[in-house]
């Protein structure tokens, strides 16, 4: 009897498993099981937003540091940013370069996954169609935002508009920039039609992408496309769509949802977040667990200033990334933006540092003492001053508008706010660009301004010749406009991607 029982048991064991092992994990939620309620869709959407967290830091590392705003060449160590500013050709495995690729693709995956789940289950779970459309609009805005960030840094990238697995991904090459733009524009246009104005959001949702964030993105996309084709596969396609950009910008202006603030410092005031300048910002909360605060305020600030000069806890900015002497000279003496944005040297004990750095986003009274990853300040991605000056640039490039009211008046308003009294007339593109440089120092716009205006090669070369007196930089090459594809990507699927020229 016992033997028969064993035999039966063993037969049972041998024959039990004739179905494929395809089980949902019980202990963890998966994409297929997570989305059950409206709140789940809200949480899932927040996850798509969370890939924005490092966006401002990236702007400072890859845009501000690469431009002529900072002269952050080697100080004798090998800080990860040194190869960025001094144009090493060997930065394909630079952590900042890798981060830009990886975080954006992670955000794109999250958006794709969210949009797939929303298409599959949204209608049966989220009964309010308006809410559903807002959710789709935000996810689409973010996917476009991440792709736009990618093409500005890398040029062509693989075009992924659905969830792909590891095997599929190894067969998807980089798509031309023009095809990536098609997806971006399709997404942004959907976002524009699905998203509400900021005033239609309840207070707790005010930080979400709105219709005008999407219009601002679309305007910037048109302007970037209209920039010259530099022959390196970059984001400029010489499309002459300045007028289309102005259309978008005009809608934002006539909405009357936004305004110029009367004071420059008020824009960045820790107690004045979500002010009238803000068209789109990245919102950070401090004191949460896990930590979700911001880090960008100290990225360009040497640690020693916090620790030795101010007696505050270490923040992690390591060594100084000096403001270019050329930019310091560009400020007139009465310009309030200089003293607000720049700390000109410091000293403690016997140490005297004469070089300057950008402290624009630091409020000394608000430095977190518990964690340097937990600053309590939002990052303004699109602000109204930027919009007005971008529109002025389109007008100077031939888009409809008046040079008096749309260019001179805007530049003069910005200058007046900065404490400058001389009024300019007949503002040129070069003057506008210089004014933008002074206004947006530390905000990571300069590098893209130079590329879009077609002056990157001449401006950077002239700057290197005067600024780099130590001879640590070499001649500027057009190839430096793009970053290399991360080496790890080249290695994981050899031959799938072509590396950008020059790397």
């Amino acid at each position: 009897m016992k033997k028969i029982l064993y035999l039966a048991l063993s037969l049972n064991l041998l024959s039990a498993c004739d179905m494929d092992l395809d089980q949902q994990p019980i202990s963890q939620a998966s994409s297929d099981t997570y989305f059950q309620t409206v709140d789940d869709f809200n949480q899932g959407l927040n996850a798509v937003y969370s890939s924005l967290r490092g966006y401002p830091d990236r702007l400072m590392n890859l845009s501000e540091t690469r431009s002529d705003n900072l002269h952050a060449i080697s100080d004798g160590g090998v800080r990860d940013w040194e190869g960025i500013n001094s144009f090493h050709r060997t930065i394909a495995s630079n952590p900042y370069v890798e981060e830009a690729w990886e975080t954006n693709f992670n955000g794109i995956f999250r958006a794709n996954n969210y949009l797939e789940q929303l298409a599959e289950k949204g209608e049966s779970i989220i009964l309010d169609e308006e809410i559903r459309r807002r959710m789709e609009g935000q996810a689409r805005f973010l996917r476009a935002f991440y792709y736009f960030d990618l093409i500005r840094y890398f040029g062509s990238v693989p075009l992924i508009d659905r969830v792909v697995d590891a095997t599929e991904a190894k067969a998807i090459p980089r798509s031309p920039v023009s095809e990536v733009y098609n997806l971006i524009m399709e997404d942004v246009n959907t976002a524009i039609s699905y998203l509400p104005a900021p005033s239609d959001y309840t207070l707790e949702d005010k930080g979400r992408a709105n219709k005008y964030s999407a219009k601002m993105l679309l305007g910037l996309v048109y302007m970037t496309r209209s920039g010259p084709d530099l022959g390196i596969g970059g984001a400029g396609l010489n499309t002459n769509e300045w007028d289309k950009a102005v259309e978008q910008f005009n809608d934002i202006i006539t909405s009357n949802e936004f305004a110029l603030l009367p004071s420059y410092s008020a824009i960045f005031d820790y107690d004045n977040e979500r002010n009238e300048e803000v068209i789109f910002n990245i919102e950070y909360a401090s004191g949460a667990n896990p930590i979700v605060g911001s880090t960008f305020p100290w990225v360009l600030v040497p640690d020693i200033w916090f620790v030795e000069v101010l007696g505050l806890p270490t923040q992690g900015g390591l060594t100084i990334r000096p403001v270019a002497a050329d930019l310091l000279r560009a400020y007139e003496t009465e310009d309030v933006r200089r003293s607000f944005s720049i700390q000109e040297g410091y000293s403690y004990g016997n140490v005297v540092e004469t070089r300057s750095f950008v402290k624009k986003f630091v409020d000394i009274a608000k430095v977190p003492t518990t964690s340097r990853f937990d600053w309590p300040i939002n990052y303004i991605v699109y602000r109204y001053t930027d919009l007005l000056m971008l529109k002025a640039e389109c007008v100077l490039n031939g888009a409809p508008g008046s040079t008096d009211t749309d260019v001179d008046a805007v530049v003069n308003a910005v200058r007046e706010r900065a404490g400058l009294t001389t009024t300019l007339t007949g503002v040129t593109k070069a003057q506008l660009l210089e004014e933008r440089r002074r206004e947006f120092i530390g905000e990571g716009t300069r590098w893209f301004d130079l590329i879009r205006s077609g002056t990157v090669e001449t401006t950077m070369q002239a700057w290197i010749e005067t600024e780099d007196t130590g001879g640590q930089m070499r001649d500027f090459q057009m190839e430096y406009v793009l970053y290399p594809v991360p080496q790890s990507e080249m290695n994981t699927a050899p031959g799938l991607y072509d590396q950008n020229p020059g790397y």
């Binding site: 060449i73 080697s74 100080d75 004798g76 160590g77 090998v78 190869g83 001094s86 090493h88 050709r89 060997t90 930065i91 394909a92 495995s93 952590p95 690729w101 990886e102 693709f105 992670n106 794109i108 995956f109 999250r110 794709n112 996954n113 990238v157 693989p158 992924i160 969830v163 792909v164 697995d165 590891a166 991904a169 190894k170 998807i172 060594t319 640590q472 930089m473 070499r474 991360p486 080496q487 790890s488 990507e489 080249m490 290695n491 994981t492 699927a493 799938l496």
Partner: protein, 312 residues
């Protein structure tokens, strides 16, 4: 099971998978000999030797190799079919570039100039890049051995133990702090940086290139060290006494006085750190790919122990 790198276009950098198969082989040998056994004197020795190797025999999807990602620069570790696991895979440095090398068309990495390290153009394409990496070693030693000797003479005893290993390498992350390519004077540097290249007339010992170089960095053999060492781990010298009598009275049954020295003598080839065996950091810098390595591990302490054992 291993985290296998995936394309980031999936949204993720790695995937936990059955990555392949590995074959491990080895043998152990131990010999104990009582060389001399007399009433007053004895000497015995023990010797052990073990040899262990492993090699990757197959990888997922019939790949020939998987590079192990690193948070610090390009990968330096590889799983390749037919090779030991986690073989060290970097560009080889071969002295220092001279102007003559450059004039003769030597392969360069980025914008190298005379005084920078000279690298081996392994694939012969005229430039140095990540494709020029080759397997230069593996972390596990081929042989690990130990010898113990015990002597006894009357009431004295002496024992010592040697230990060593050979055939392995370590890739020292401490170089990231103290031994970077072209490192300048703003940080501490390893001692041998004093013999760096200073000028064509004063080229140093041919190991470290010029300071303040600006061509960038590629992982290369400058952080590679042999993990070979031998060491006198332990010497103990003792004296035993029994049935100690004072004033005709037995008040101590037995006793022993001894002196032990640990780690007082030895040699290794790791001049970029203190202990070739230390494992105090994750070399890859990435939690998905754990790899033991040295980041400023402390030296083994030299210890003197003086002891008395008494039995009443």
């Amino acid at each position: 099971m291993l985290n296998v790198p995936t394309m980031w276009s999936t949204g993720f950098g790695s995937l936990l998978d059955n990555a392949g198969t590995v074959q491990s082989r080895g043998w152990d040998l131990e010999i104990t000999s009582r060389n001399i056994q007399r009433d007053n004197f004895s000497w015995s020795s023990s010797f052990n030797l073990s040899h262990n190797t492993n090699k990757v025999t197959q990888l997922i999807g019939d790949q020939q190799e998987i590079l192990i990602p690193s948070s610090f620069d390009i990968e330096h570790s590889i799983l390749r079919v037919g090779q030991p696991m986690y073989s060290i895979y970097v560009v080889q440095q071969d002295g220092i570039l001279t102007q003559q090398d450059i004039d003769n068309g030597a392969a360069l990495y980025g914008t190298q100039v005379a005084g920078d390290p000279r690298y081996v153009d392994a694939n012969g394409d005229g430039v140095i890049d990540a494709e020029d990496r080759v397997i230069v070693g593996h972390p596990n030693p081929n042989y690990v051995w130990g010898i113990t000797n015990d002597f006894k003479y009357k009431n004295f005893d002496l024992s010592f133990m040697f230990q060593g290993q050979s055939g392995g390498h370590l890739y020292s992350l401490l170089g990231r702090a103290l031994g970077r390519t072209g490192q300048g004077a703003s940080d501490n540097a390893l001692g041998f940086y004093r013999d760096r290249w200073r000028s064509a007339e004063d080229p140093g010992e041919g190991r470290v290139g010029k300071a303040y170089s600006t061509f960038g960095r590629i992982k290369n053999t400058d952080w590679l060290y042999s993990s070979d060492y031998w060491r006198l781990r332990n010497v103990t010298f003792g004296y035993n006494f029994r049935d100690l009598r004072l004033a005709g009275q037995s008040w101590l049954n037995s006793g022993r006085v001894y002196l032990t020295l640990e780690n007082f003598w030895g040699r290794d080839k790791y001049d970029g750190g203190l202990n070739p065996e230390s494992a105090n950091t994750n070399l890859s810098g990435d939690d998905d790919y754990l790899e033991a390595g040295d980041y400023g591990g402390l030296a083994l302490p030299k210890t003197i122990t003086f002891g008395i054992n008494l039995t009443f």
